[in-house]
Amino acid sequence: MSICYHTDPMKVVYHLIYFAIGCYETAYKLGLSLSFRQEIMKWNGWGYSDSRFLFNKKGQAEFTGKRYRLSGLILPSLKDWFEGTFGANLQHKSPPTVNLSAVAPPNLNEPFIEDLKAAGVAASHDPEDRVFRAHGHCLHEIFALREGRIGRVPDMVVWPSCHSDVEKIVELACKHNVCLIPYGGGTSVSSALECPHEETRSIVSLDTSQMNRILWIDEKNLTAHVEAGIIGQDLERQLNEHGYCTGHEPDSMEFSSLGGWVATRASGMKKNIYGNIEDLVVHIKMVTPRGVIEKSCLGPRMSTGPDIHHFILGSEGTLGVVTEVTMKIRPIPEYQKYGSVVFPNFQQGVACLREVARQRCAPASIRLMDNEQFQFGHALKPQVSSIFTSFLDGLKKFYITKFKGFDPHHLCVATLLFEGDRGKVLQHEKQVYDIAAKFGGLAAGEDNGQRGYMLTFVIAYLRDLGMDYYVIGESFETSVPWDRVLDLCRNVKERIVRECKERGVQFPPLSTCRVTQTYDAGACVYFYFAFNYRGLSDPVHVYEQVEHAAREEILANGGSLSHHHGVGKLRKEWMKESVSGVGLGMLKSVKEYVDPQNIFGNRNLL
């Protein structure tokens, strides 16, 4: 039977359930504060305010808070790794400055505000609310905030609470010609949330966070109808309570929203089982200046011309606001098991992943880190509690490097996550380990695997730590055919090192990559890149030049412009090259039809 929360009384009941549990979302759900998220989250860094890395008085690194497995733990080797890798020094600090007074007064469209009030939509033009929604998490955005430099920010924020609110807002925006920028989780890394400098109209940030309900769950068809403002972890937890999950777990799932996933063509860690966002959506409802676009039924596949969903997926907020999505759901898997494999070198690792993809037996997730990242992972090992564990670690290391002859400067590790029936998982696990063995891979335990995945969630926090000590960095991704994976990884990493050197970066940068997804015809590759910027007068500019060069290198080596981060404004210049002039023209003509007034004027993509 399907559970329906559609009516308002039901909403209250729903909320009461949460009261009983007593977690922060409760207050959030009740709408006690429209900007609750910004109170528990950093405004000039990643994630929760209570969670951050720091070097304590003894010079040891620790991770604060209680939210993560790593929280409250001392990380003894992080300092040496940090200083050794970047040539950074704990004496040289570059702390953030706070300067909210720099926010320019809002450019308000009074008639619009009046109509909005009449319609009963919550709004604010408080500077803090506006600044919080003026950026994503690109390096230059965070760097500027830390320096107290605040550019153009939205002039006001509105919080629609349901689909019809959005319809009203869009209608009024058209009427009064204001610019709307949809805002979901704020985790963009493509400058998508930046307010265009050339925009002269009043800019209104449309925050979807209040549209965060699961409207119904259909157990017969295994679908759920969800409001698009819901945050990934809330969606997952609420479905879990009913015994279901979507299985969509992008690395940003703690903070990113369903609508954002749709608008950027997001990809989840476990896409091998559940698929990427485009495989997961059954139905999308989007409000555009022309009206609402949606399909008329919930059929699983249609042959009705080009799929209109594909105009919406990846539209990056240029066409309208995604308000509701019907998604596939799955029963929570019975069994989950992490794993890891050590390979003598990256080449062997890639060959193994390729074989796994060929045999189409990829686990829910399989990721291959290169040697630098493997060492990085090691630096994040918490203090071991017993002599026994440290003895065991030593023994493992001895076995791999001395007995098996792996070179610690070449070996790399793949992390695995299996999901499903217990029996099948164990069988599957054996199959994958057998393949790995053919490529010289040695099973390296569940713990290493699990730590690898945890790393994904805390790595963004680490950037903030680096920025406290003159280290800046970023990640970027691409997708590439199998036969070019190795060449692309090597060339891009080397290009980064070379560009840094040429631009006067004093210390060799951290330039590392991993293969994070496997497909039949290729893989997704993720690069991390960071350097010590002491001695540079304009570090962000240097950083941007290097990233630009790295992207050129990716494209020259047969990689795509983006696998899942999207284009935004950061990668716009390569769109024509990527999709051809005609392709770009098609997209432009859609925009032209749907939004002739450019109400959705964030100027992404096109």
């Binding site: 070019r484 692309l488 090597r490 060339n491 080397e494 494209l555 020259a556 080596n557 047969g558 090259e577």
Partner: protein
Amino acid sequence: MASRALYSPRHPVLKKRDDFEDVLEERRRSSDLRYALRCYTPTLYKGLVPCKVSMLKSIVLQSDHLQCVIKQVSSESGDSTECVAEEASLILDEMAHRMQLSTVRFFVFTLSKAFKRLFRSVCVNEEGIQRLQQAVQEHPVVLLPSHRSYMDFLMMSYLLYMFDLPLPVIAAGMDFMSMKFIGEMLRMSGAFFIRRSFGGDKLYWAVFSEYVKTMLRKGYAPIEFFLEGTRSRTCKSLTPKTGLLNIVMEPFFKGELFDVSLVPVSISYERVLEESLYARELLGVPKPKESTSGLLKARRVLSEDYGSMHVYFGHPVSVRSLAEGKIKRSQYNLLPRYIPQKPSVDTHEFLNDAAFRLVRIQEENMVLKPWVLIATLLLQNPDGMDLSSLTEQTDWLRHLALAFGAFLDWPDHEACSEVISCSLALHRRLLSVSAGHVQLSVTDAPQVETTPEEAVFQRAVVVLSCASYRNQILHVFLRPALLAVAMQSANSSRKDDIYNCFNFLRNMFSNEFILCPGDSVQDFEEACYLLMKRGVLQVLEHEIVMSASGQSTLAFLCSVLEPFLQGYQVVCRYLCEETNENLTEKEFIPAVRSFALKLILAGRLKCCEALSSDLQKNALAALLRLKAVRKVKVGDQVTLKVNKIAVNSLEDTMGKSDVISK
């Protein structure tokens, strides 16, 4: 002409060059045997994938590229793939090197002995070696030496061994293989052999290119080949070939390598071992087929003094920076990389341009000895010169050459006359010096009875030998000389008129000299700049005016090109006057030669250089390029169809003053 303003002339004089060190000095002091057996631990490429010679072969044969071509060839020819694969394997056997350190050590021992006897010194720029050592570690390296003598690649390997650098694998012409023993020896010291022509043979090309690329990708060893394709018989750089250059650049284009370093190497000889051999060859006396016994006879060579030799390792040129903004690497994205692809028009243009620039670098780093200046002067004065005026003019020329950026190795603290007498002594075979009068002359005792034709040929051997030294400095004077001739024939001081003439001459001679395609404006500006700086010209906004003191320099520069102008005119005259309808390509050279000979015997032509087959070939190539002559295939023969009006007008434009007296 708008782009002229964008070009700022180089300052050739400011060019910094490294110092040299004599590597034979050490050899003269210690045991060659111990040296040959010493511990050899070369610096290696950081990305080296260690791999044995035998493994190399199987990697090449198993490669996706070769497998793909084998399938293609098999489906086209109807032979089974096994059969084609077998053929590929045979080709590879014929081609592949089998480098062995023991053979190399044997060569090191014998070459140490030989070099010490042949040369007074072998000078190498050690900074260049250090740069190479650095480059070798970072990226796969391609060595591009100039090619004037058989000695070149022996010397290269010898030097690399000496400096603990990885030994190169060398692309050598198949003709070596006819010397059974030596061929195998060379193979074991790193040479691999390519057929001279394999135009349409897909399979051969695939094996060859995959073989070279595999070695490059694995970082197996530096690849060495000659951009000019063959030894230059004239000591002028030859128009570069792009085939191999494309092969070594492709792994970069396709992203298989981050970068490839190209290292131009300039090898110059004070006296070329093959000097008279080359001259004879140019005059149509066929070169003796390379044979081991022939080489033994050449032992006589060992007893002579060949002066010093200079090897200059240039700055490594990164293919990546060369291709920056010129090659769109993403053009290779849409086709699997193992499927062979013909270079696109853009790529081809890039390769050609790069090849020319590399040869220009070779030229610029070529060390010139005083004799080169003397030879230039003696050729311009066929009746000889008094020693005193030779001394004076050489000194003048020396300063001119230095001002134009020549890389001159002139002994620092010696009197000019001393330097000249040393040079004359070294090259005494080409000269006669009597009573303070120096003249080029036949010194080999002439046979009792010589026909007039034989006398002309004997004289021509001396002239062409001597010209091969003058040719070494041509690249220094070339651009100003083209300008000088242009000014003379333009008969106007308007800059545009002179430029048009310059451009015409440049175009005419672009098979003869290294003139980068598309650099016409730049070359013109450079010539103007050099002559202006020398006080020869005044370059105004629309005019170029000769200054009062410039006459002698311009006259000298004009006579530098004179032999070439005359030679080309002879070719044109021949084509206009003498040809019938059915001149085949094969007959062309002998026919022009006998035409020129006739003119010389009749006293109508003074210049022996018109007899050079190299010049004749280049002239024909230019005429074909300018469409004054067409090739027509009739049966298996290629005949030349001459457009006499076009040829005539080219001849007229080349020189209004008719040099060939009627």
